[in-house]
Amino acid sequence: MDAALVPDGPMQNGVEDIEIQLLLEALYQRYHYDFRHYARASIKRRLLQARSQLGFASFSAMQDHLLHDPATLPRLLNYLTVQVSEMFRDPSYFRALREKVIPHLRTYPSLKVWVAGCSHGEELYSLSILFREEGLDQRTLFYATDINPDALRAAEAGVYPLEQIRKFTENHQKSGARSSLSDYYTADYGRAVFDKSLRSQVVFSDHSLVTDAVFAEMHLISCRNVLIYFDRALQDRALGLFRDSLARKGFLGLGSKESLRFSAHAPAFADFVREEKIYQRQDV
């Protein structure tokens, strides 16, 4: 086409969107990380940040580096995945687990719990502490999964900046705590190092809700603030995975702004604690 026929202005956006599509395709084909069906507005925002902070003139230049230099991958992944979390985030969710779900879980001789999208482990340690407080830790095996290897390493280390501890402690207390958070960590050079006994029954593993399959039968799956980053088709894929992973009458907990409302898998679940987005697997 004659260059003079290409309008400028809004078309600039068009070019960027094509480049982003191609970049995500390259990322998938080369490294098997599949962000093609993540909610695009947020991905675009974070890619724009990566482009400027990593100093690329265009997404095409970024793609070139990504394809030829594997060292670009982890740097890019840290932009594409969002590592924002807190221990006992939304205390009322953990309180509902404690008061309504734990009494059911008590009836099982052994338990499996999956924390999907565990980030730096904040949610995992919250559950591990809660299960210890409720006396279920000895019979529980936890799986903590994520796609970001740096996040998984941090989760395995269980070390958080001390300035976060005040918020974590406040959240823990509001969750109906039966102990003090300070029982579980030691302060060391401005960091809180969590007790390794909290992860003695934890399997940390690289697992993607987009590209990987069912790996065990669970009694509780907690997957919070991960599905909001997916488009609807992808949310459905992940929810199908949860449906297939849950034992009969098993429980699924989602983030406070996530729900099964638009999902084809909704009939396989019943509301258990509606306001906290806790569902129970149904026979269908």
């Binding site: 809004p10 956006n13 909610a39 507005a41 947020s42 675009k44 909001i228 980053y229 949310q235 702004k257």
Partner: protein, 191 residues
């Protein structure tokens, strides 16, 4: 100024937001056709109170935005507290818990930049009263995409810092008082 008909309106407001929005939103009729997306800086846990406050006083439907919901006409969508609100190119809404922007979550910049990207020249964006600079980068993006940018008249704003910063970032923005805004929004619906 753009000539495309306005298909969506985005509003950002901070300190003084409630009083300002109480002047504007109740003036819109129930069948006001254009959807409105609104970010107000509120401390966590307060947003539902905003929705019920405005729902009780407005004729137009007022809701808290839900993740991945299709955008409907005649609806005001408020960002929930502690989540960013984004507009997708397929004209649905997304929420995210990305880091705060300008110390805020939800952030006005995040809403305006994504809405500018989704609607281009068919977006009108308004930065109202507030004591920080959130919304300035967003309004600049709205201008760059050919949309209509508006800031609240400084003398009319309870706190002028935010509209001032927005006008500096986007000098072509129109300056309006709340009294100007009401008939203006009504005319947008007529075109």
């Amino acid at each position: 100024m753009s000539v495309a008909p306005v298909e969506a309106i985005s509003i950002g407001a901070s300190a003084g937001a409630v009083q300002a929005l109480l002047r504007i939103l109740p003036a819109l009729p129930a069948d006001y056709p254009i959807p409105l997306f609104i970010v107000v800086h509120v401390p966590p846990d307060r947003s539902n109170a905003l929705v019920s406050l405005f729902a009780a006083k407005c004729q137009i439907a007022v809701r808290e935005a839900e993740d991945k919901e299709p955008i409907l006409p005649s609806t005001v969508y408020f960002a929930p507290s502690d989540y960013h609100l984004l507009v997708e190119a397929d004209r649905s809404l997304s929420l995210s818990m990305d880091e705060p922007v300008n110390h805020s979550r939800p952030a006005i910049d995040v809403l305006l930049e994504s809405a500018a990207d989704a609607y281009g020249p068919a977006l009108a964006a308004i930065v109202l009263t507030g004591a920080n600079h959130d919304g300035a980068a967003g309004l600049k993006a709205v201008c760059a995409a050919g949309g209509t940018a508006i800031v609240q008249d400084f003398a009319d704003a309870q706190v002028a810092t935010m509209p001032e910063a927005a006008l500096t970032a986007c000098p072509s923005a129109r300056v309006m008082t709340l009294d100007d805004l009401i008939p203006y929004l009504l005319t947008l619906a007529a075109t």
